[in-house]
């Protein structure tokens, strides 16, 4: 019922672990796979090791979190070791590497070094709390996005390229279209919203060490859904929906809006990694009760009504 075949990946279910969540070590990613995820997106990494920002890097707020981890990650050499350990799960649970950089060369080099170890790349051009020159500095600009996507696409022939976009632009469909024209095989919508800010009311101190951070979790779902809905009408490549999915009804909304695949991140904070099994069980029951033969039948349903 939940099986699909997208971007050459055979999936037992369409729910991936989102980038940035429990994706640093092979053993934590394997743990999430055992808990029922249909696929894994690693935490973003680049050529060099990066400590990210100082704590507090994450603060829980009403309906989600604000985070400014700042792309903390070991460099590509250390990450390759972790990816090699994931080989054993890739038949059952495809692995997508989220990569970042500040130039076409860096993206290409990281992808080149890891292409044999992953089933797809997700280009992070959308982190809202990355240092200048990284993340959303790229993804807010259609031309820069186009150049990076087409460079990686030229360099890496056999591995699908997914582009993760920021919602913090006037019109996300323009960046989506630029990515598609540059050869992207799929899109991930959306990275965290904002950045946002929380201040302690007693001391007037901003809580995060970096002051600002990306907002994620159930509170951003309506924005994510809008982005998926509008982008589905503009591009012909598959869309990963991500942003505040916490139960099967959220998955249905994203798929009706046009997502073929989903990613879950912040909601693991509430329900633990078991959330994958809970959602897939509920989803199967819903689809069966409503007369569907396969989950792919509901993709984009809202656009047909």
């Amino acid at each position: 019922m939940l099986k699909s075949n997208i971007l050459g990946m055979k999936l037992k279910n369409p729910l991936f672990l989102a980038a940035g969540i429990l994706g640093t070590t092979a053993s934590s990613m394997k743990m999430v796979a055992r808990a029922g995820a249909g696929g894994i997106v690693t935490k973003s990494f680049s050529l060099e090791a990066n400590d990210g920002y100082e704590n507090p890097t994450i603060v829980k707020i009403e309906g989600g979190v604000i985070n400014s981890v700042g792309l903390a990650s070991p460099g590509v050499e250390a990450k390759k070791e972790e990816l090699m350990e994931l080989e054993e799960i890739r038949d059952e649970t495809p692995v997508i590497a989220s990569i970042y950089g500040d130039s076409e060369e860096v993206f290409c080099e990281v992808a080149e070094q890891t292409k044999k170890l992953v089933d797809a790349f997700e280009l992070n051009v959308s982190c809202p709390h990355a240092k200048c020159g990284f993340g959303s500095n790229i993804g807010e600009d259609p031309e820069m996005t186009y150049n990076i996507v087409s460079s990686v696409k030229d360099a890496i022939k056999d591995v699908p390229i997914i582009v993760k976009l920021t919602p913090n632009v006037t019109d996300i469909t323009k960046i989506a279209k630029a990515s598609e024209e540059a050869g992207a095989d799929a899109l991930t919508l959306i990275n965290s919203v904002g950045p946002g800010l929380r201040i302690d009311y007693q001391t007037a101190k901003p809580i995060l060490n970096n002051v600002l951070g990306g907002i994620a979790g159930p509170m951003i779902k309506p924005i994510a859904l809008k982005c998926v809905y509008n982008t589905y009408k503009t591009v012909d490549i598959p869309i990963f929906g991500v942003g505040g999915i916490k139960d099967y009804r959220d998955v249905l909304e994203f798929m009706y809006a046009g997502a073929s695949l989903l990613q879950i991140g912040t909601s693991i904070m509430y329900d633990g990694p078991e959330i994958f099994k809970n959602i897939t069980d509920d989803l199967s029951i819903f689809l069966e009760e409503n007369g569907y033969n396969n989950i792919t039948e509901i993709i984009g349903l809202s656009h047909e009504l």
């Binding site: 940035g20 969540i21 429990l22 994706g23 640093t24 070590t25 092979a26 053993s27 934590s28 990613m29 394997k30 743990m31 999430v32 935490k43 090791a49 990066n50 400590d51 990210g52 100082e54 704590n55 507090p56 890097t57 994450i58 603060v59 829980k60 707020i61 009403e62 309906g63 979190v65 985070n67 981890v69 903390a72 990650s73 070991p74 460099g75 250390a78 929380r198 302690d200 007693q202 001391t203 101190k205 809580i207 060490n209 159930p218 916490k246 139960d247 991140g265 912040t266 909601s267 693991i268 904070m269 509430y270 329900d271 633990g272 809970n278």
Partner: protein
């Protein structure tokens, strides 16, 4: 199914009520905190000095006065700032408590071993259980933590120093082994340097008693999502499934006693 979606867990800012210089490197901070039934020894809080934030074990759980305490050892810029610059009347932020603490209600006689400031994690056990024998270990007499506190509360503690300047001369694990040989204990619990903890696990295997140990890993979120504190080979999150792990869990941890990960997630060998 979904719990706490609407909870706000920004740090709760508290004013330090009392500080105690425990040793030349260790200091305790007491502050008002509503002590609810779900706060247990072994849990930790994220402590914000209004600049940076680190996980700290809870060293005082005072139900009567609704006070909590943390005890820090000078080990880096954060703890040095806490030790030198933060005092009565100052404000700090507290998130939590988080994580799994010790679960000891099924045991007849408990042997608790604290190395250095690791005793901070174990001291609250004494206000929850009356069947605990406690070893407090340090390199020398001056570095023994909570000596006056235990004396004041009339608690007998087995002291232990590497140089023999106070109590048993030798490592805490040697004293623990002697005590285990009496056959009185059905569990060993511990917190301290990882090499010590690893040896405690080996002792629990040798003497066939249960074991619960508190582990320390680099943490960012404390909420179970960043993945920074995940431990090989199970992927357990130290902030959620830990920081106290039981014998079965500990036996599955291939990285325990061997390495940890730094702020970037790179492996650092012991």
């Amino acid at each position: 199914m979904i719990q706490n979606v609407y909870d706000d867990e920004v740090p709760k800012v508290v004013t330090i009520k009392e500080t105690i210089i425990e040793t030349p490197t260790v200091k305790t901070f007491i502050f008002p905190f509503q002590i609810t039934e779900d706060i247990h020894p072994g849990q930790f809080v994220m402590v914000w000095d209004l600049n940076t934030e680190k996980p700290m074990t809870i060293s005082v759980i005072d139900k009567e006065n609704n006070q909590m305490g943390i005890t820090v050892r000078k080990a880096g810029p954060f703890t040095e700032n806490m030790y030198e610059n933060i005092d009565v009347g100052d404000k700090i932020g507290i998130r939590g408590p988080y994580g799994h603490g010790y679960e000891l209600s099924d045991y007849k006689k408990i042997l608790a071993v604290g190395g250095g400031s690791g005793i901070a994690s174990l001291a609250p056990l004494l206000s929850f259980y009356d069947n605990v024998d406690l070893i407090s270990a340090a390199s020398c007499k001056e570095e023994l933590v909570f000596v006056e506190k235990f004396e004041k509360e009339n608690i007998k503690v087995h002291e232990c120093t590497d140089d023999g300047s106070q109590g048993f001369k030798g490592f805490s694990t040697e004293l623990a082994e002697q005590m285990l040989q009496t056959g009185e204990y059905d569990i060993i619990v511990g917190c301290g340097p990882e090499i010590m903890s690893y040896k405690l696990l080996e002792l629990s295997q040798k003497y066939d008693v249960d074991c619960q140990l508190a582990l320390d890993r680099y943490m960012k979120c404390g909420l179970g999502i960043c993945g920074q504190c995940c431990i090989d080979d199970t992927g357990y999150r130290v902030c959620v499934e830990g920081p106290v792990f039981d014998k079965k869990q500990l036996s599955q941890l291939s990285e325990f006693g061997k390495y940890r990960r730094d702020a970037a997630g790179s492996i650092v060998k012991y």
